[in-house]
Each structure stands twice: as C-alpha cells, then as structure tokens.
C-alpha cells in the first residue's frame, strides 16, 4: 500500500489528489494559509466556504493558474509541480470556472479542439466525432455545430464539462457551478455529476456554498475558513447547522429580522404593456405589473429572460420601448433616468461596478445623481456634501472615508454606498437588481435587512434577482418571468420552490 492509499472501512480508496501544506499570499493578503486536502478517486468532494475563504485561490493553484508559495500537490500519489493549466490537464485535472472559459463566437467543436490544436494541424472532423462518442458514452446531448452564444447557460456549462472530459480529465473541479442555473438545471447538473462519478469513476471537487447541493450529491465535505481546512467529513453525517457554523465561526453574522409587514397601500409603480425590441426580437413583450406601497415584489427567472432589460427599461433607455410606466399614479414621460428620478423612482443596477464611478470618491458617488442639490451654478458645496456623506456613512454602516476612491472599497461597502444613494432620500418606489450578488454572508444579511426596513417604511420595491432563495426570503409576492413575459404570480403564503422553478423553466 503506497502512502497515497487511505483505508476507508475495509476497502482501500486511492487518493486522486492530495494537497499538503499549500500556501498562497497576495501582497498582504493570505489567500490560502495552509491547506491539507485529500480527494479520493471516484468521490464527489464538496468544498465549502465563505466568499474570501480561499476556495477559488485554492483551485487556481490546483489548476496551475497561480503558483503556490509553499506546499505540494500530488496526483494519483505522484508529487508534481503544476506550473500551467496545460500541466494540470496533462495530469488529468479539469476545471469549470464560474465565468465560462468558452470562446462565444466559436462552435462547440471548435472550443473543444482549441486545447489540442497543433501549429497548423486542426482536426475538426475528428474532434466532432470524438465529442459525439463521448456524449453517447455518458448520456448527454449537445449539438456539436452550435455556436456557444446561441446556447443557453446550462448548455454552455455542459460544453465546459465535456471540454474537460475530452481533455482526458480524471478530476473535475466545478467552481460554484449552480450559481448561474435555474432550479431545473441545477437538478440536471447534479444528476450529470453523479452519473459521471458512477459511469466513468470521475472524481469531482464541487465548490459551493449551497447546503442542499451538498446533501444531494457530495460524498465528503471539507470546510474552508480563512484559508485553512477546518473540517473534512462524510457528507451524510453532517447537518446543515453544523456546516454553517463551521463555515462562519468567528465571523459575526447580522441577523435578518423579518420586521412587521405593513399592509399594502396604493400602487406606486405600475408598468402597462411594456415591450422592448432589441437585437431583432422582443426581449420583453406586453409585460404588465404593479408594485404597491410597502411591498417587495420579486421577479424570479432564469438569467437572460428579460430581467436586465426590464430594469434598464425602468429608466427609459431603450429606443424601441413601448408601453406605459407610472410612478405614484403619474405616467413618467420623457423616458430619461432624470425623469424617473424626478418622479420619485430609484434604481440599483445589477452591476455595482458599472453604477459606481470607481475613480471618484465615496462622497462624489453619493451625490452624483443629485448634483443640483449640492451645487450652486459652477460650484460644488463641499461642506454640504461632506455632511451628507458622513451621515450616509453612519446611517448605512459604510466602512469608508468620504474622500476615499470608491473603487478601493470591498464589494459589500460599495453596495452600501449605492444603497445609501438610492435610499438616502427615500423614493416612492425602487427597482433593485441582484442586490447581493458576490457579497459575503455578513454584507448579504445587511443588504437584505435594509431592503425590508425600506419596505416597512413604505417604499414599493421591485426586486430582481437570480438567487431564488433571496427572492423567496424577501418578497411579498413573486412574479415569474420567462422569455420576457410574466408567466405566473405567487403570493407569499403559496410559495413553492418546485412550482416556481417549473414556471421559470417555462413548463
């Protein structure tokens, strides 16, 4: 028995990957402190951890995208230095990242052949045949000649997995694979992962922070906290509560209080027959909805079904946009962001880096949409601005100085600045898009709590999020969007994940 072998019960499980003493430091930040981890052949090993716990860095080390400062990596019991993705692939390691590394303008086959193209030689026909054989072997269907940008996200992810398998991968790293999927697609992905383990004995490292995925597929779980593995255990013996506490121990979590649900009042945002024509087709067609005073209406849907366009349409930016949008009973005319702001409508865009001007300071960002209020002709009222900024920083618990460039803030603090801008002067209604995307647990809790406080204070909030759990947690009503149409409405007391998931998938 070699040192790589590990006794489990009475059978011998070989280790596919074993990391020992792995360490990576970026500047002053210790991304990975000291990691010892062992992944067995043919197991699904979940790696659990908070944002910033070092999961992604760890995987980058394993895939040769970063060089470790200390420690070693062994594959199948042999220690090797993984200096590049090429070396990693040759050693049988494949990775599917959160942002797919597919070339969107190429076909599935072209993407697969990319990694083994010679200087001149390029065997497209052979690669196509190999792909079809592989698909048959593991029971997946894909059109080898489809261009990547014509495929839905779930399919693109399959291409990523197939690409790894075609490259001879024995250990597959999946970095938060379900973050981009709707509930139906999550189930079929988990199914595929299980099938790969059972049919071809694939070892899978599943990076996630979703507990129900772990309980569904994982054989073992390791918990990563502040760059260290704090526990590795069999998945079926672990409870969600104990995993969560392992994950965030020492990290203070702000508790989300439900607050009192105010009774809903008059309609503050009404959209009638909104149609947006873009890139040759209707991305939103005849969409109508209503948000009343003091309620959160969630828009649930698989990404790319018109959510982004709906949010953008609420500042009237599209040239080919028809329909009527009213705030507080008055139709907003003029179709400009300013007209919406004037009507008492606020907006939090889906991409905070696009909404904040990163080179400007916190206070400058805070007043950007209401300059008239903080300036005399030609002059900024510095003192007034500073006072407003300091108040915002206190009220919204922003960890920053007023004169600090906003680009230097963490995601959570940047989001708070944008929320302060949105809610600082309380709007009648607001649309809030992906408010907690990419935030850690603490900031997420804060943002969600803030949304409920604002709701309770009477703001009508339209919440657009790809995180179904978030929508179910916060919304008083859920509208399901599919292909630019509202296809269902569910009241809070009728929430049902499976039913909503089915509607999201257009079933």
């Amino acid at each position: 028995m070699s040192t790589a072998d590990v006794v489990t019960g009475n059978s011998v499980a070989t280790s596919a990957v074993s990391l020992s003493g792995l360490r990576k430091v970026y500047g002053d930040v210790v991304a990975v402190a000291k990691v010892d981890l062992e992944v067995r052949t043919g197991e699904i090993h979940a790696l659990l951890g908070e944002n910033g716990a070092g999961k992604t860095t760890l995987m980058r080390l394993l895939y040769g995208l970063a060089k470790p400062d200390a420690g070693s990596i062994s594959i199948d019991g042999t220690q090797i230095a993984i200096t590049s993705p090429k070396v990693a692939r040759a050693a049988g390691i494949g990775m599917v990242t959160q942002h797919f590394s597919l070339v969107k303008t190429m076909t599935v086959t072209e993407n697969l052949v990319l990694q083994d193209a010679g200087f001149f030689s390029l065997d497209l026909a052979g690669a196509r045949k190999k792909l079809l054989t592989l698909c048959e072997e593991i029971g997946l269907e894909i059109d080898p000649d489809a261009r990547i940008d014509s495929l839905p996200v779930a399919m693109q992810q399959r291409v990523e997995i197939l690409k790894a398998l075609a490259g001879g991968c024995k250990v597959l790293i999946l970095d938060e694979p379900t973050a981009v999927l709707g509930p139906q697609d999550v189930d079929s992905l988990l199914d595929v992962i299980r099938r790969l383990r059972d049919t071809i004995g694939l070892s899978v490292i599943l990076i996630t922070h979703k507990m129900h995925e772990i309980s569904k597929v994982a054989d073992r779980v390791s918990v990563l906290r502040r760059g260290e593995i704090v526990a590795t255990e069999n998945a079926n013996g672990m409870s969600i509560a104990s995993l969560t506490s392992l994950m965030v121990e020492g990290v203070q979590q702000e508790v989300v209080e439900e607050g009192i649900r105010s009774s809903h009042g008059a309609s503050v945002l009404e959209i009638k027959d909104l149609t947006v024509h873009l890139r040759g087709h209707d991305v939103i067609s005849d969409l109508s909805l209503e948000v009343r005073r003091g309620e959160i209406v969630g828009i649930a849907g698989v990404s790319g079904n018109g959510q982004s366009e709906l949010v953008q349409a609420l500042s009237g930016v599209f040239a080919h946009q028809t329909g009527e949008i009213s705030v507080d009973g008055k139709v907003v005319k003029g179709g400009s962001p300013a007209a919406f702001a004037q009507a008492g409508f606020g907006r939090l865009g889906e991409d905070r880096h696009a909404s904040a001007v990163s080179a400007l300071t916190v206070e400058e960002n805070l007043i950007l949409d209401r300059l008239h209020f903080f300036s005399k002709p030609g002059l900024l009222l510095k003192r007034k601005i500073r006072k407003f900024a300091e108040e915002s920083i206190t009220n919204f618990a922003i960890k920053a100085k007023p004169d600090q460039a906003i680009g230097t803030l963490s995601g959570g603090n940047m989001q708070k600045v944008l929320l302060a801008r949105l809610f600082g002067e309380r709007p009648l209604a607001a649309v809030v898009s992906q408010p907690t995307r990419g935030l850690d647990v603490v900031s997420t809790g804060y943002v969600r709590q803030l949304l409920m406080i604002e709701r309770n204070a009477g703001v009508g909030i339209l919440l657009v999020s790809e995180d179904l759990d978030e929508i179910l947690e916060l919304s008083d009503r859920v509208l399901v969007i599919f292909k630019g149409k509202i296809v269902g409405e569910v009241a809070r007391n009728e929430f049902d994940r499976v039913a909503i998931g089915a509607m999201m998938a257009g079933v």
Binding site: P85, T97, S101, V103, T105, L114, F120, L122
Partner: protein, 300 residues
C-alpha cells in the same frame, strides 16, 4: 467604351493589390485582438526597404523578401510595446507610424541624394496572358489566388488560426486552454506586419520602380477602414478592397472626360475616400468587434 471598361477593371485589380496585402495583414492582427495602427508606417518601411535592397542586390525578389522580414520585425516591435509592455495600442501604433515614415524619408534622403535624389529599379512588368484585364503583376495573382485563400484556411481551418481567433475573442479562455496569448499575438503581429510591408513593397517594386515621399498616401488608413467594412472576414475585406479600387480606377477615367475637366481634380480624387466613409456609414453599425479588441491581456 468597352476598352475604357476593360481598362477600369484591369486598374481595379492593380490598385487593390497593395490594399489586399495590407488589409489582410490587419485582419490577422485584429482577429488576435489588436488594432495595429503602425500599418501606414509598416507599408512605408516595406516600400523603402524593398526598393533599397532590390537596388543594392539587383534582385527584386530579394528586395521583396527583405521588405517582408522588415515588416515582421516592425510587427514584433509593436508586439513588444502592446503585448509585453501593455502600452495603449493607439499610441503605440501611431507613434510607430510617425517614426517609420520619417525614418524611411530620412534614410532615403541620406542614402540617395548624391545621384538624382531617387533610387530607381527596373520594376516587375505585368504579364499578359488573357487580354488587358489579366495583364497583371505576379503579386496581384498571388494576392487573390494564393494569399487570400491561404489566409482563409489559416484563420478558419488551422491550429494557429483557431488560436488567433481565441486570443482575440477571449484571451482568458485561450490561456486556460494552454494557449500562450503573448506568443500567439506576437505571431499575428509579425505575420500581419510582413503582409503590410509586402503591400508597401508592391508599390515600389511593381508600380513605380522608385521611392518618393508620401508614397503610401494613406493606403494604410484605408486598409483599416476596409477591415471594419469587411467585418474581419477575408472575403469581405478583399471585396472591400476591390470596391475601393474600382472607385479609384473609375475616377482616374473620369478625369479624362472633357465635360468634367473644369472640376478641380481633387474632387474626383476624393471620391474613393468618400466611398469608404459611405460604406462604413452603411455597414459599420453594430459591427462584431473581436471580444478582446484593444485590451492588453494580463493574468490575474
């Protein structure tokens, strides 16, 4: 009338040849995600090096090969600036163009002032095998019959082609796939530079047999417009070059029409350029720029 028409078509092929070389070189470069504004300067370099070496060695072919090597070197210099150093591509390209135009003119003046101020070679002759339309230089045949199909194959059917497209569209993906983004981009710049220089050398070694100031006369800039008109495709770009050359050839004929003789000739001269602007205005909206266009690649 027929004769005029035949003359125009023949001239179209001739005029388009340097544009085909240069714009296809730019297609390769831009497909790899880089705008190469050194194109105008690279064409000057090709024109000057080509004729100088040809005059020294007495061999036009040696001159052409020298021009091609010089172009590849310029491409590598551009690569050092924009790939290795990550310099802004506009600045690097324009800077190189300014430098190379001046350097060519200066070298020309220093090297050749003592005679008649001009280096001369006996240029290639068109060879006539099927009437005046096909009385063309061998480089013209090479451009349309060999270069364009070969580059199409290179871009769409070869390993290096798929790598060029990958690093131009999504360098992160290419990197993850084990492709060296830097090496691929250097290769594209060197190949592109070689082609641009060949286009420049065509003018001195085939058209004129001499080098003069302002010899390229904005053909490099036209080539850049043609690439956008051609949406980074080989055949559309070649078609664009033919279209531009057709208007050029037509205006040359129009100058001979007595009724138009009172027009300042500059107006007719401007026609092809107006055609480029019109062409871009019509087709240049929503063009699918390569995904990594103008972006230097750095690993995280």
């Amino acid at each position: 009338m027929i004769e005029t028409l035949i003359g125009i078509i023949g001239a179209t092929l001739r005029i388009s040849t340097p544009l085909v070389f240069a714009s296809l070189g730019e297609v390769i470069t831009e497909r790899a995600g880089m705008l190469n504004l050194s194109i105008e300067g690279t064409m000057y370099t090709g024109a000057f090096v080509g004729i100088t070496v040809a005059a020294q060695t007495g061999s036009l072919t040696t001159g052409l090969i020298a021009a091609i090597i010089a172009g590849a070197i310029v491409g590598c210099v551009m690569g050092f600036l924009v790939v290795t150093l990550g310099v802004n591509q506009h600045v690097a390209g324009l800077g190189l163009t300014l430098l190379l135009i001046s350097a060519s003119n200066t070298a020309n003046r220093i090297l050749f002032t003592n005679k008649d101020g001009m280096v001369r070679v006996d240029p290639w002759k068109p060879f006539d095998f099927a009437g005046p339309i096909f009385s063309q230089y061998w480089l013209t045949y090479a451009a349309f019959l060999i270069l364009a199909p070969a580059l199409w194959w290179l871009l769409w059917r070869s390993g290096i082609g798929i790598r060029i497209r990958a690093v131009g569209e999504n360098p992160e993906s290419a990197d993850v796939a084990g492709i060296s983004v830097a090496r691929t981009r250097y290769f594209a710049l060197a190949l592109g530079g070689a082609l641009m220089a060949a286009g420049g050398a065509f003018i001195t070694l085939a058209f004129l047999g001499s080098f003069t100031i302002n010899i390229i006369n904005g053909r490099g800039w036209v080539a850049i417009a043609l690439v956008i008109f051609g949406r980074w495709g080989i055949w559309r770009t070649v078609s664009g070059a033919l279209l531009f050359a057709l208007v050029s050839a037509t205006q040359q004929q129009l100058r001979l029409v007595p009724a138009l003789s009172h027009l300042p000739f500059e107006i007719l001269l401007a026609l092809p350029y107006l055609a480029v602007i019109a062409g871009l205005a019509i087709t240049g909206r929503n063009v699918p720029y390569p995904g990594a266009y103008l972006k230097p690649y750095r690993r995280l």
